[in-house]
């Protein structure tokens, strides 16, 4: 293929969702996460799973941390940097009495810079619109949820939500790109010369 014919670049993401931390401790029996990779219209998935559900996990010696180590691997091709892939993580809890409840949503931007990156994102949860709703959520243990968590990745309807945040998710992700430089893109920070 001639140099002038390159119009598409490839990006490969390899990493895992390491753990979830709730600072005041975890009182649920089991936690699990679901992730979804969301991308713009110019992007095209080449390989990898764009959604997944993790194992049911319990905390260990650290009462604030639940380790998942859930692998996320995707290769995508695109003609445009706009619509760069994002990862939406949903953390849910499974208890005997209250059943399956939501613990929060986290939104990560998959790294646009090549290399390995460790990222932390806070977990946000929608709040009820009324005081009665909040009281019912406390009483029954059923938290308000979003019908489609992917709306958090576009941000267009965020203004309708009322949220609260508690806890955070840790992600380690490596990005390797092909032909991004050939197309004229520069995403490298300047190197400081001592």
């Amino acid at each position: 293929m001639k140099e002038s014919e390159v119009t598409k670049f490839l990006v490969s993401f390899n990493g895992n969702i390491e753990y979830v931390i709730f600072p005041a401790g975890i009182f649920d029996e089991q936690l699990y996460i679901q992730f979804e990779v969301v991308w713009g219209i110019d992007w095209d998935p080449k390989s990898g799973l764009c959604t997944g559900t993790s194992q049911m996990a319990r905390p260990g010696s650290d009462p604030e941390k639940v380790i998942f180590n859930m692998p996320v691997e995707m290769v995508l091709g695109s003609t445009n940097v706009f619509g760069w892939p994002q990862l939406v993580v949903t953390v849910r809890a499974k208890n005997f009495f209250s059943g399956d409840t939501l613990r929060g949503y986290a939104l990560f931007l998959l790294p646009p810079v090549a290399g390995t990156h460790e990222m932390t994102a806070p977990l946000v949860k929608p709040r009820s619109a009324t005081m009665l709703g909040e009281w019912l959520a406390w009483l029954t243990g059923r938290q308000p949820e979003l019908v489609d968590p992917r709306m958090l990745a576009t941000g267009k309807e965020n203004y309708l939500l009322r949220t609260e945040s508690y806890g955070h998710v840790r992600l380690k992700m490596t990005m390797v790109s092909k032909d991004l430089r050939k197309l004229g893109y520069d995403n490298m920070a300047p190197v400081l010369k001592m």
Binding site: A153, K156, Y166, D186
Partner: protein, 178 residues
């Protein structure tokens, strides 16, 4: 044509000391040389409640694609933080403005905010008991430096943005940014 991509998140607000929920309206402003190809240059975040660290986490995604013919009028972001109380009333609690970085890569930008202050005793008592705040009628003052000497302002908290800048073809036009 030279292009600029801004990808990232409007992450959080800290030190606002407000018991109500806060939300942020943002707007990206550029000069006439710049054209927005894709993405929303304006938006509003969800109304978030303070967590135990006194921060409000919004996690609002930003993704913009600009094309430019000249470097004058480099994009800047204008932020307006408002609070939403339990009755559903809202008023402005902070204004801030920041020019976006010109080097590619990750950047964590912290924008300190200010709000027009209550000057007389009655205004301060009103704000304390009933709530409410002072808003600017001409929002140009937020990003321009002229005519500010008449304004008395109160310092507020800080807004954090995590963005990544990706540039395209700027070196072809002789622009040195590294």
């Amino acid at each position: 044509m030279a292009e600029l991509h801004i990808i990232g998140q409007l992450q959080s607000a800290s030190d606002f000391n407000d018991p109500n929920s806060l939300f942020c309206r943002y707007s990206f402003q550029t000069g006439p040389n710049w054209t927005l190809i894709s993405g929303l240059s304006e938006g509003q975040t969800a109304a978030g409640k303070e967590n135990f660290k006194k921060n409000i986490d919004w996690v609002h995604p930003l993704d913009l694609h600009y094309v430019c013919k000249g470097i004058q009028g480099w994009p800047k972001i204008i932020l307006q933080v408002s609070c939403l109380d339990s009755f559903g009333r809202s008023w402005v609690v902070g204004y801030g403005c920041c020019a976006l970085p010109s080097t590619p890569g990750y950047h964590t930008i912290k924008v300190p905010c200010w709000v027009p202050a209550a000057t007389t005793v009655t205004e301060r008592l009103k704000q304390y008991f009933i709530g409410g705040g002072h808003e600017l009628t001409q929002t140009d003052i937020i990003n321009l430096g002229s005519d500010r000497f008449k304004l008395i302002t109160q310092s507020k908290g800080e807004i954090k943005l995590n963005i990544c800048i990706v540039l395209r073809n700027l070196t072809q036009f002789g622009v040195e940014y590294k």
